[in-house]
């Protein structure tokens, strides 16, 4: 659904409420423009002779008008603002729900920062147009029309038109200068964030800077950026101050014309003194809607760009979807890879080249290879993170593409390389896929992955928050928590570990492998690693290089083979000289 339609249907569903708020604002403005007229009449009464009761009458009338105006306008303004915020809520919901359907490829192509920008700036920009902008334009139109009507009909058309000329320039100037101000203020923001970035990288590299006595160079670099901020800030100030001077100048000119021309008309008895006073008040009332016209045009321009960006985002189709007729059966979890060649979109080289391997259910496959050899790609294809070519990855003989995504993901438990955790408690991270488990089950999984001792030492045990991306934990602790998160998913028949033991020490690695040995035979296990010690349990090992299987066999066979595997083995066991 295109966002224009979303907004259209949102407004259509609430058309009566919208009409109510427009009507409220209309009434408010119609009432407000009576104030100068009443003041004018009041002044005229002094020439005609007025009593004390008459004075009181006018004062009360002014009060009553003010009260009606304030209440109706406040009501209209609030309803519109409320509607705008409700729409903002719905847009955000749609965005998030849409993101959840998109595949890994999408998230690799778009940085989190860019996507967040949509939620942070584009959505509020649309809301701003829909509440503030809509409210202002309604108010401006009513006020402008009502004021013009009052001045032309009850005072003097010529006076109105002549005095109006200078202030009619106001919206034009705002439309021209407004975007320039925005550009310059963005430049200031950029300069500020450049400075923040330099401070960040400099403080983070403080050891390097101190070890090289490079402080003076850093201070110089910082100075340059700070000077740039001042320069850009002053360019913004120049434009802003000009802007702030021109608008009042124009209304001043209008007022001066009104004063002289109006005075002339009074002298020649073409308008009354009261009308003259009323007119000066009307003139000041006209400035506001004219400024609003300019601002609203800018707001709408701004938000239509945002609306287009949101539209582009919502129109992205998920590239991995459920098959039309998914295969349903009781899955055992045997994995077969059959002549799999895979190339990332936009890449010229194959990430995987004619890979075939069979992992009978309950057995363990080890995948080894240097960084970039295709280990992670292979695992990701089994997870259907990306779509493999048809009939190249089969689970219990069924193409993964013919499985329902939900079924596949219920079947697999996965431990990522980076041990990604959410900033919730360590307990809810472990129980991520099983929100209903009891604490004992969480603790059991934590013991299995050797993270329980760490949890016990934490101030609030399993209820301790782990911070953003698990920042409160070390790399090894994160990995062990991620392993617990996979182990607690007891219904899973396939366990995939993507270099998930790289940050734990060798003793803990041994202990965790001991636990994995315990589920041998029940779960198909695939372990990718570049530390060979993590593959001790493997029934079968494949060695990948540039996307091809260059060797495969059991550990003993590969050692006899005396090729890449044996060489890696020797380096890692300290048997081959690395230096000298």
């Amino acid at each position: 659904m295109v966002p224009k339609d979303i907004i259209g249907s949102f407004m259509w569903r609430r058309k009566w409420i919208y009409l109510l708020s427009i009507a409220a604002i209309g009434v408010a403005e119609a009432v407000q423009v009576q104030i100068p007229r009443v003041l004018g009449n009041f002044i005229n009464q002094f020439k005609l002779g007025i009593t004390a009761a008459g004075v009181t009458h006018y004062a009360l009338l002014l009060m009553a008008i003010a009260a009606v105006y304030v209440v109706t306008f406040g009501l209209g303004q609030f309803i519109m603002g409320h509607l705008g915020r409700t729409m903002e809520f719905e847009l955000r919901e749609r965005l998030f729900a849409h993101w959840e359907t998109l595949s890994s490829r999408y998230f690799q192509q778009h940085s989190v920062g860019d996507l967040l920008n949509h939620a942070l700036t584009d959505v509020p920009a649309v809301r701003e147009a829909m509440s503030g902008g809509f409210n202002q334009i309604t108010q401006a139109i009513f006020l402008f029309v009502a004021t013009l009507y009052m001045t032309i009909s009850s005072i003097n058309p010529d006076l109105t038109l002549v005095s109006l000329v200078p202030i009619l320039l106001i919206p034009g100037i705002i439309v021209i200068v407004g975007p320039k101000v925005r550009i310059r203020s963005r430049l200031v923001q950029e300069a500020l964030s450049n400075m923040a970035e330099l401070a960040e990288e400099s403080f983070q590299a403080i050891r390097l800077i101190k070890a090289t006595s490079n402080e003076a160079v850093e201070i110089d670099r910082f100075k340059t950026l700070v000077d740039e901020i001042v320069a850009r800030q002053m360019r913004l100030v120049q434009l802003n101050t000009l802007f702030q001077a021109i608008l009042p100048l124009l209304s001043g000119v209008s007022f001066a014309i009104g004063l002289v021309y109006g005075g002339d008309l009074v002298i020649h008895h073409q308008i009354s003194l009261g009308s003259f006073v009323a007119f000066t008040v009307y003139l000041s009332m006209l400035v506001t809607p004219l400024m609003q016209f300019g601002f609203v045009i800018n707001t709408f321009q701004n938000s239509s760009a945002s609306l287009i960006r949101i539209g582009t985002l919502l129109s992205v189709q998920p590239d991995i979807a459920d098959p039309e007729t998914p295969v349903e059966k009781d899955w055992l979890g045997g994995v077969t890879v059959r002549d799999l060649t895979f190339r990332y979109p936009g890449s010229k080289v194959s990430a995987l080249d004619a890979v075939s391997v069979s992992v009978p259910h309950g057995s363990t496959l080890g995948v080894v290879g240097r960084t970039g050899s295709g280990k992670t790609t292979l695992l990701n294809l089994i997870l259907r993170d990306y779509d493999p070519p048809a009939a190249t990855i089969l689970i219990d003989g069924v193409d993964v593409r013919d499985m329902r995504l939900a079924d596949l993901r219920e079947l697999v438990a996965y431990v990522p390389q980076d041990g990604f955790l959410f900033s919730t408690t360590i307990g809810s991270n472990i129980a991520f896929s099983q929100p209903t488990v009891v604490p004992e089950q969480v603790e059991h999984a934590a013991r299995q992955s050797r993270i329980m001792d760490t949890i016990r030492a934490m101030p609030e045990g399993i209820h301790t928050p782990v911070g953003e991306r698990g920042i409160m934990l070390s790399g090894g602790q994160r990995q062990r928590t991620a392993i617990a998160r996979a182990l607690i998913k007891s219904q899973a028949k396939i366990l995939i570990l993507d270099d998930s033991l790289s940050a734990v020490d060798t003793r803990t690695e041994t202990e965790i492998l001991g636990v994995l040995q315990g589920v041998r035979g029940q779960k198909t296990t695939i372990i990718a690693a570049h530390r060979l010690s993590a593959l001790r349990l493997a029934d079968w090992i494949i060695v990948l290089d540039k996307g091809r299987i260059v060797e495969q066999g059991t550990h003993a066979e590969l050692m006899r083979n005396n090729a890449l595997y044996a060489r890696l083995y020797r380096i890692q066991s300290g048997g081959e000289p690395a230096h000298g």
Binding site: G74, E201, S213, V237, G252, E410, S533, I571, H579
Partner: protein, 608 residues
Amino acid sequence: MAKAQPFDIDREETLSSTSFSAMRRLLAYARPHWSSFLIVVGLVIVYNLTQVVQPWLVKIVIDQDLLAHHPRLHAIAVVGVFYLLVTFVGLVSNFIQNRRLQLTGQTIIRQIRQDLFAHIESLSMRFFDTHETGRLITNVTSDTNRISLFFTNFLLSVIRDGFSIMLVMAAMLLLDWKLALISFIVIPVIALISVLFRNKLRYSYGYTRSQLSRLIGYTAENLGGMRITQLFHQETKQMDQYSKLNQAYTVGNVNEFRWSVLFNRTFDALGNFSVALMAWVGGLAVLHHAIQLGVLYAFTSYIRQFFTPINSLTQQWNTLQSSMISAERIGGVLLTRPEVVEPPAPSTTDASLGRGRVAFEHVSFGYQPGQPILKDIHFQVEPRSFVGFVGQTGAGKSTLMALLTRFYDVQSGAVTIDGVDIRQVGSRDLHRIMAIVQQEVNLFSGTVADNIRLFRADISDRAVEEAAEIAGAAEFIRVMPGGYRSWLTAKGSNLSLGQRQLLAFARALTLNPRILILDEATASLDSHTEMILQQGLTRIAEGRTTLVIAHRLSTIRQADTIYVMDQGRVVEQGTHQHLIELGGYYAELVHRSGPTADVSGAADFPLD
């Protein structure tokens, strides 16, 4: 730091660090600009006067020209021109004042920023251990920004709005003092309503902000972890959570909006009511011929002129508070003294530290009192030798290197280079002869060449390229789209871990150090990449004293001496062969790191 007199710590030792005195000290930064502030005040007064004059002119037109028995158009025209002139003068003075004040504020803040940054850079490692980087960045960016608001908003408002209120009051008193006194009733009412709403508005604004940052934080995290959510099939749960936060934010936002509508409309109503009040009181006065009709007009205009300045003044309390808090934070940083101090009279020059013999003489050290990390470390590394340090995490290897680079001072004993205590050497001289390569390679936003030469102007492009060549980095740099001019970012996602390490090697080489320290430099690499790096390492270590902290034992197999550390002590030392034959701790480490260590034995570990 030449211009940092306001924070000259030696002279102002006794100052307490409350926010008021912190603010006072920051105000000292404004002292050189007093003449600018004087000009600003003058211009503000001119502007305010022109604003007050306008209703008065209309009053003149009404009373003297229009209500006169013989109305004179000529006089009205004169007033009209005068009115334009006044408006113009007001706008010009406001224009100049604005620019002047902004420039002054920016200049002051530039100085504070530079001094603050320079000061932070001068502080010792322990400061960075105990202060989060994020906090320090906030100090440099937003705290300084809030202080600039003090100069550009708070001071301006107090002067401008204060004068504005006083001038309007004066004009009213001049016109008719009795009516003026009655009108002044509205001033406390405006102030009271403004203050009451201000608290409510601030609270609801703060609440909405915190809800928004929770929502944004959650969104950011879930975008980053979307894959995990999908792979664990938890989309519904995460969406529910999101909706709750979204709902909470929307409720807060609507509530905040409700208060702001209420506040603005109340102010509106108050403005109109005071005009009505004026019409009533003033109207009766006109009726009794106590005042002229034009005076009534002027009063209805003036009474509206109270609202803006009073409202703006009440807002400034928040600005003042937040800039005082920021001043206190910045003051706290500026008052911190570097722990590691330069020797008053450096006893040695670069030349005498020429050979590179490193010795630790009975060194003990701990980050916390009572928790020693290094205990009586005593050894000597010969010039141009290659030595390795091994041991478990926490054994004290990295601390050793931090003492050698003098990030910290030893608590007892001494670290010497060629027999000279490093505490007697100026830090520039000391660091000129050594270079350190760490596991994590820090990159800076800049070109590849600048990253290698660390932005130093005295290192030529040629020297950079030579260093890259020797370190083995030239190969990948050449194939980058811009070569040595390619742009890198601090996050450095465009370089692989191996490439970053090679770049760090090149960086160390351009410094041509006599002593080279490698702190777990190759730990995060796969074996193959490590092998390539080893070749580069061999080349750059040539002819230098090289100290290597190793994660993988293979890195230091060939070392002249291996120091085995455990719990802050050197427990074994010797060549690889010697240590293996010794059959002690080192031999056990070697055995344990092998790929075929027994797993079945491990299964015997109790599961809890």
